[in-house]
Amino acid sequence: MSVNLPLDSTRSANLCADYAPLEGVFDELMGADFTVRPHWRSFISALEAIPAADLATRWRQAERLRHENGLTFTIEPDEDGSSRPWDLDFVPLVLDPADWRSLERGLSQRARLLNAILADLNGPQRLLREGDLPGALLFANPHFLRPCRNLPAKDGVYLHNYAADMGRGPDGRWWVLADRTQAPSGLGYALENRIVLARCLPELFRDHHIERLAGFFQSAHESLVARTGRESPRIVLLTAGSDTTGYFAHAYIARYLGYSLAEGPDLTVRDNRVYLKTVDGLKPVDLIIRRVDDQDCDPLELRGGSSLGVAGLLQAARAQTVTIANALGSGVVETKALMPFLPQLCRKLFGEELILPSLATWWCGQRDALDHVLANLDDLACEPAFDRRPILTSGGVLVTSALSAEERDQLRRQLAVRGEYFVAHEVASSSTTPAWIDGKLQPRPMMLRVFAAADSGGAGDYTIMPGGLARISSSNDLRTVSLQKGESTKDICVLAEGPVAPITLLRSPFSYIEPKRTGKDLPSRAADNLFWLGRYAERSEDIIRVLRSVIRHLAEDDAPVDSLTAMERVVQVLLEKGKSGEAAPGGARSDRRAEQRPERPEQLIEQRIEKRLAALMFDAELPYGLQETLAHLRRTTSLTRDRLSIDAWRTLQTFQADMAEHAQHGHWLGDFLDAGTALEMLDGAVRALGAFSGMEMENMTRNHGWRFLDMGRRLERAKHHAGLMRTLLVAGDPQEDGGLVLLLELADSLMTYRSRYLTTPILPPVIDLLLLDETNPRSIAFQIAALSSHVDELPRDADRVVRSDQQRLILSLLTELRLCDIVALCETTASGRRRALDAVFASILTKLPKLSELISRDYFSHAEARRPAEL
């Protein structure tokens, strides 16, 4: 994010001195006579009173807050799908109470009107039968979804939330540029802007009567709750997923309002009712606030290939077991093709005049309108009536006068043949508002997004949020169309006539929210992802520690010749975890190395180890290799980012970026592994992963989410060490071949050993320290004990008295370890094997994967992927 900030500390005390409104355009700040409008005056002087340096500090703090919430991307992605950093201009748009009240009345009426039209078009279609709307306008609209016909709605409310994009004409009157009726976006950004601004400029909010936003959220929430007909409904906010641009805003709003954030696969329909899959079982959902398009909401009856929705959702809606806001199918009234018909429809349906005009628009599906458009084409802009697909190869909205002669011909042909799919509208100049650009206030074209929510009563009225999102264009191009790509946003401050109750937005506005100590509704998929995040974070660390130890020994040449065998075996253990087993690692460089004739016999082993190290480190195809593990870690991190603290998330992000950078460049000096650089990278990696696990221990509340993350880590670590120890300790003489030292080093326990025993490592105490000692956080017993206590805390049927499968399994393992006799473990058979020790490791290595399976079966498996089928 970047912030437009007054940095010049010597700035003139008069902010408006150089401000010059453009000619023939309404300016928010100044009238045509260059005087500041009355409602801006005290606001501007308050701003002028703040020392610039002060402001800069406060703004930096506020910016950090924004980053913590992650709201750093645009509301709508660019046409190429990329998202740009999102600017906030620190000067809000100030609106006076009378002006706002007229806008409020107009918007409320418009929302009511669109709801009535929606109810008719998806219902009896009287408006078509009585000739008020042409049938083609509906039937050509791809957002008219047949399966959404005749859905029931409490109080006749389909449009629970509505947003309008607004502009102001040269005479100062408001008009509507676009209606948003499906899943209006931007509310999260508006809220966030306000919080930042209130942090940054508290005196403005203290000294001026500015309408608060919290009341709107509260009443919107209450009316939604009322519509579910339940006392305390379970509410989910359905998002399209963590890789979509709106996700942070969705997560933000969900957190603010205390809703569960869910993706399609988190929900399931059974017995025509929607359930949230949680680690605590299936929980009925009463209200879905969706941020997913109509088409994607039910793969069973709507767009089949989509995985964003919930199969059977429409059936649940028909059965009235769930309220969906907005109702499925509400996208049909979003089209600009409706605009020319609204005044007449308003008279017909309500006997009222339409208060808020739309930008003059013509739907080209009717002869008269089309003739008018073709005759005046050069003064108009054209765009698709129903979607945002480009008409010609370039751009979504075409300002006809800007087209070449050839393009104009092409457009005329399109309009004549497929007019139903197009609208044309006036190229209107938008009003300007002051923006802080290049160290001073300058007029910039603006567009507003204003939000409405249905009231709880049966009267069909709407409440308008007293504020919203102002979007300002970075250029001086006044044509409203260019504002669609508004590059910066502002808060909208609506002045109140009297004092405003000081509700702070930083606290939840809802009095009924009791303090909670647990996150009970942990969606199964989130738990699954956290579990695997734990496993992959630990696996990365395990691999990196092995690589680091081995490379260090090789590089420092301090390893006794004997320990080479141990190192080779350790590296081999890692390689064999992958399917490739004995397969020769890839990489042209290592092959060239292998061709060299060794000078010393041990060099042969070193070469072999290095070759394998190279594969472990850089072969992206190698299962269980570092690159593959990092790829999994990256994926699970991004899937769980709404559950990680910003610091933990950043730590992992930076770590992964570093590793990717290293993987690209490799670590070679000629034909030799560049041990110095590799060690630097691996040291950094161990520190970064250590920082992450530290934050996980210190910063995450002990809820189920943390528990699954930690279980993943414990399980992975126990498995890893059991594998290593089995390889190095079961046969041979680990005391002599360097195996013990290596193990202690890999388990980060060398210091502990030395402080306890003051001898060179010998087998029994090492086994105790690394296998049986429950006080050593790197021992296997510690992991098993931790797993056991986690498993005890997992949700299960309260009336079940016997131990669960998971409990029995982990308890048997823990008991087995606790009953171990070290002397017996160290005994060797005639063939030189330590059979009892082997049996312990075998038990660990079969029971832990089994535990993982059982956890998955009981807590995640209802999260298995839906397989769409066209049968």
Partner: protein, 294 residues
């Protein structure tokens, strides 16, 4: 002609399905050309939820949810349908095709609004300038709409190869047009796209066709398959069914199951399945004429 139609679909899954939702279009509807007398739909295993309703095109729709683990699903619809002797339209007596849409778009009568639903692009029948050009060869200025449509039907029959290996249920029309091969569903979509490119109302019809046995041999049980064709609306006759796969005006041998804008609106079985692994489908359709008298 009264027919007994037995339509049996069996799904076998390689892994157990823990849970599934299905939407079925397996119950034939009545229309001016047939009387769907009765249907018995049996489903094994017995669904936990079983709801019957009517979709927005007027087709019978069945929703089922299977909440118990199963490895096999059998859907068996047994219907009795009386298909009436068709009226033979006079193609030359229909309106010039260009006049049809302008008249229709200003008409708010029930029939006109019903027809208007089928004029525009739909998910599986997108707009296509290529198909418009192909259609215009038949739709010369002023030509009666049904005459031109029959000409188009014949051209599709001649220009395209029936080839069950060429396409799947999701092959786009553009690809069928480019490859010049496909099956009944593809040809129906193709002709619908041609007609809609000219703003003519055309709908997709799903149903069954009585296939005659080869000379001197018994009719094979199950040899008859589900079929698809299209229907064109003209002011004189209402909906007239055309079969581009066989190049004919639909008669007594076509039994209608349902209709929509395209296959997606009336697909026989749609499902969302949890678990299941790979699946195999076995379909048996049996059309038995009961009598020649209604």
């Amino acid at each position: 002609m009264i027919y007994d139609v037995s339509h049996r679909t069996t799904y076998r899954y390689s892994m157990p399905v823990s849970f599934s939702h299905h939407v079925l279009h397996l119950v034939p509807r009545s229309s001016p050309r047939q009387d769907a007398q009765r249907t018995m739909l049996s489903i094994t295993p017995t669904p936990t939820v079983h709801t019957s309703s009517t979709d927005s095109f007027g087709n019978a729709l069945t929703f089922i949810t299977l909440q118990d683990r199963h490895t096999e699903l059998v859907l068996h619809a047994k219907s009795t349908i009386d298909v009436f002797s068709p009226q033979r339209p006079r193609p030359a007596a229909t309106v010039p095709w260009e006049t049809l849409y302008p008249a229709l778009s200003g008409d708010t009568s029930e029939a006109a609004l019903e027809a208007l639903q089928y004029v525009f692009a739909s998910p599986r029948v997108p707009d296509s300038p290529e198909l418009e050009a192909y259609a215009r060869v038949s739709f010369t200025p002023g030509r009666p709409v049904l005459e031109a449509a029959l000409d188009l039907t014949a051209r599709i029959f001649d220009d395209f190869v029936y080839d069950p290996t060429a396409t799947t249920v999701s092959t786009p029309v553009a690809e069928v047009f480019a490859e010049r091969r496909g099956v009944c569903q593809d040809f129906a979509h193709l002709e619908i796209a041609c007609l809609r490119a000219l703003r003519l109302p055309a709908r997709y019809v799903s149903g069954y066709l009585l296939t005659r046995p080869p000379e001197g041999r018994e009719r094979l049980v199950g040899a008859d398959a589900s079929h698809a064709w299209l229907s064109l609306w003209c002011p004189e006759y209402g909906w007239v069914d055309l079969d581009p796969t066989n190049n004919l005006l639909v008669g007594e041998e076509h039994i209608t199951l349902g209709w929509g804008r395209d296959y997606g609106d009336v697909s026989l079985v749609k499902g969302a399945i949890f678990g299941g692994g790979a699946h195999k489908i076995e379909v048996g359709v049996d059309v038995t004429p009961l009598s020649t008298q209604a």
